[in-house]
Amino acid sequence: MTSQQIKILMVVVALGALAVIVPNTNSFVILLSTRALAFAILVMSLDILLGYTGLASLGQAAYLGVGAYATAILATTYQFGLGMDFWLVILFGMLVGAALAAVFGLLAIRATGVYFLMITLALGQCVWGLAYRWNSLTGGDNGINLRVKPKFAGLDLGHDVTFFYVVFFLFALSLLAMYVLVQSPFGRSLAGIRERELRMQILGYNTWLHKYIAFIIAGGFGGLSGVLWAHTAGIVSPENVVLTTSVDALLMAVLGGAGTLVGGVIGSFIVFGLREYLSTLVPWWQYVLGAVYVLTILYLPFGLMGIPERIRQWRASSGKQADPKTLASVPS
């Protein structure tokens, strides 16, 4: 087995373990895991930009926001998406997210580095402003309540384990899709752009188009994350679209390890675990969260997914020192 295959096997085993263990814990843990998985889709979508294309976006919450608002408005105003048509809403949420990204991308993609950060931040805040001020559509500050969850074909998403599995299924599908994407020739050329855009241009790649398409795909997955998020929380409010939500996503991606996809999932679970579970146990959870961030930045610049690499390096360096001794002790 190649190391790549071993890695895939490890992820599959970890996901399988998650799918088996979580439903056997208590309802609160199931709820938190569902939320973490739904949010992890957003973090992974951001990772396509951050880790694979080298574009740090500060406006990713906007796509979660439009997906979530679309779901809430369809469900409350038109009673749409509460049965089998839930799957249509998922499709629609992805389309809305992608469409918004297509518009924003036209403005944002021309910039790089800090300027890209600033433009995505500004665009994200535009969505927040709409959510906050467009009272007749979004309910303003109070947001929109989703009182019922979809029910279809004998599945009641109001039941927490069922809902967990539905979210898990969509999450796994997204992970697979994004993995295929980043491994494809298209994904490799994104990595090429990340490493050296000029060289890619000289080789004849239309780098703008590559980045634009990556941006749209990330927006689409952001929209999907929003649809699921709306149903996990049961409420959609401007709080979902604020800057801190985008920053959270960015921090989770960096914490887990950018450019790894699964790193974002780990980051998402760690942050949700600390912020929403540890906070029910101790009042000083914020210090723990802060310490995790600081220590990761200081010692693990490649995030938690960088740990095996760190261990390998450490082993290799200590192994070298040990080498002469072992050689000497081996009788020849």
């Binding site: 939320r35 109070n142 947001g143 309540n145 929380a233 029910t280 009042p283």
Partner: protein, 420 residues
């Protein structure tokens, strides 16, 4: 050797077992009432959240956490000022801690987020702060296990509009924070003021959290008799200062949060003479309130705000119902029904609950004065009560059916007929 060590271990083990048994056996004899309290204890609203928790805790300390024989287990969860965190934490309280009731929430958005949880999880929700009108008005049928013990946003505004007419004000400019709570406080005032012949000639909506009112102050119409402000948090501090600095000398009146005890200690002489309306003032001159203010201040080092009082009173009301049931939680429907039937003499005055489960209570018109109160030897700012409107319900001087037929107060409702 081994024998002695075993002997040593055994009593310790026994002690452990006894310790473990003790609470179990007492729990068997005594009912436990689990109250899940949702308040922001971190984030920008942390200080308000502290007032809420302190108020409730103070009552628990006074009765030694004993509600008619039931031992109260008070579980505080941090909603971080975010509605979806409020939902998560409420679910934790319901699913993991199996609480009998949820209490609290701060912002209107938290209230709107928690109410459906109460319906879905079939758990009582005692709304001890969120003032969103519709929780006990147009949306009430959706929330069968909800009862409010605080106030509805527009409740103090209705008598206040009448009061403004009585002062002879004809034209008023409103300036209020641009969000749902602001719309409701300003809207209630406008409806009442225009019902008695006044005119709101201009409505200004600075964004929530504005710190610079420079762009808005020069636009205030010159022919207005007074300014009605609705500020929250740091906005409350900035607005009067900048208004004074701009040279505007018109009388200023405002919603309760523009001058509540939470912001008052940080204010200066620029607010003296400003008038506001709310269901509570720390300067309420009754023996009950004097005792409360003194006890609260010696315990927590600050004057209680309505956040403290409301939660103290909520605890008192819950106690009353549980005591009437001899320490047993009577079930959601019955609890809500009995709580709604209470008539209590509380710190803020007599409180009963109307048929739409919102309190009927005194509304106090308060003027900011610098003076000594309750024997404290320093001159401080206090909200002196200058007029009391007794037993005001959420519809005030309006008929319930007509009131409910109109939309909830918003940015554009009531329309500004006299704005031009």
């Amino acid at each position: 050797m081994t024998g002695t060590s075993r002997l040593r271990v055994n009593p310790a083990l026994l002690g452990c077992v006894a310790l473990a048994m003790a609470p179990m056996s007492s729990a068997g004899a005594q009912e436990e009432l689990r109250i899940g309290f949702v308040a922001p204890t971190t984030g920008i609203f942390a200080q308000v959240g502290k007032d809420m928790v302190d108020g409730f805790q103070m009552y628990l300390d006074e009765v030694k956490s004993d509600f008619g024989g039931a031992k109260v287990k008070f579980i505080v969860e941090d909603e971080q000022g975010k509605p979806d965190t409020a939902v998560t934490k409420a679910k934790k309280l319901v699913l993991q801690d199996k609480v009998h009731m949820l209490v609290g929430g701060l912002l209107a958005s938290s209230g709107y987020a928690l109410a459906p949880v109460s319906t879905a999880e079939k758990v009582t929700y005692v709304v001890s702060i969120p003032a969103a009108d519709d929780l006990t008005q147009r949306d009430l049928p959706k929330y069968p296990y909800l009862v409010r013990t605080s106030w509805s946003s527009s409740q103090p505004s209705h008598p206040f509009g009448q009061w403004a007419c009585d002062q002879g004000y004809k034209k008023i400019v409103t300036i209020g924070a641009d969000y749902a709570f602001g719309y409701e406080v300003v809207g209630g005032f406008q409806r009442a003021f225009e019902a008695c012949g006044g005119q709101v000639v201009q409505k200004i909506w600075p964004p929530l959290g504005s710190k610079d009112f420079g762009p808005y102050l020069p636009t205030i119409k010159r022919d207005a008799d007074a300014i009605f402000s609705l500020m929250v948090g740091p906005m409350s501090l900035q607005f009067p200062k900048q208004l004074r600095a701009s040279g505007n000398r018109k009388p200023v009146i405002g919603g309760g949060t523009s001058y509540d005890e939470f912001v008052l200690p940080a204010m200066g002489d620029e607010v003296i003479g400003h008038v506001s309306a709310l269901q509570y003032s720390a300067a309420l001159d009754t023996p009950k309130n004097a005792a409360f203010v003194k006890a609260y201040r010696s315990k927590y080092g600050k004057v209680p705000s309505y956040y403290s009082e409301s939660n103290y009173t909520t605890a008192q009301m819950i106690n009353q119902v549980i005591r009437n049931n001899k320490g047993k939680f009577p079930g959601n429907e019955e609890f809500v029904k009995q709580l709604a039937a209470l008539k209590l003499d509380t710190i803020r005055g007599p409180v009963s609950i109307d048929e739409m489960r919102n309190p009927v209570q005194n509304i106090y018109i308060k003027k900011v004065e610098r003076k000594k109160m309750f024997g404290y030897d320093k001159d401080e700012l206090w909200n002196t009560v200058i007029k009391t409107y007794p037993n005001v319900n959420q519809f005030g001087q309006f008929k319930k059916a007509e009131f409910l037929a109109t939309p909830v107060y918003g940015r554009d409702y009531p329309p500004c007929k006299f704005c031009n």
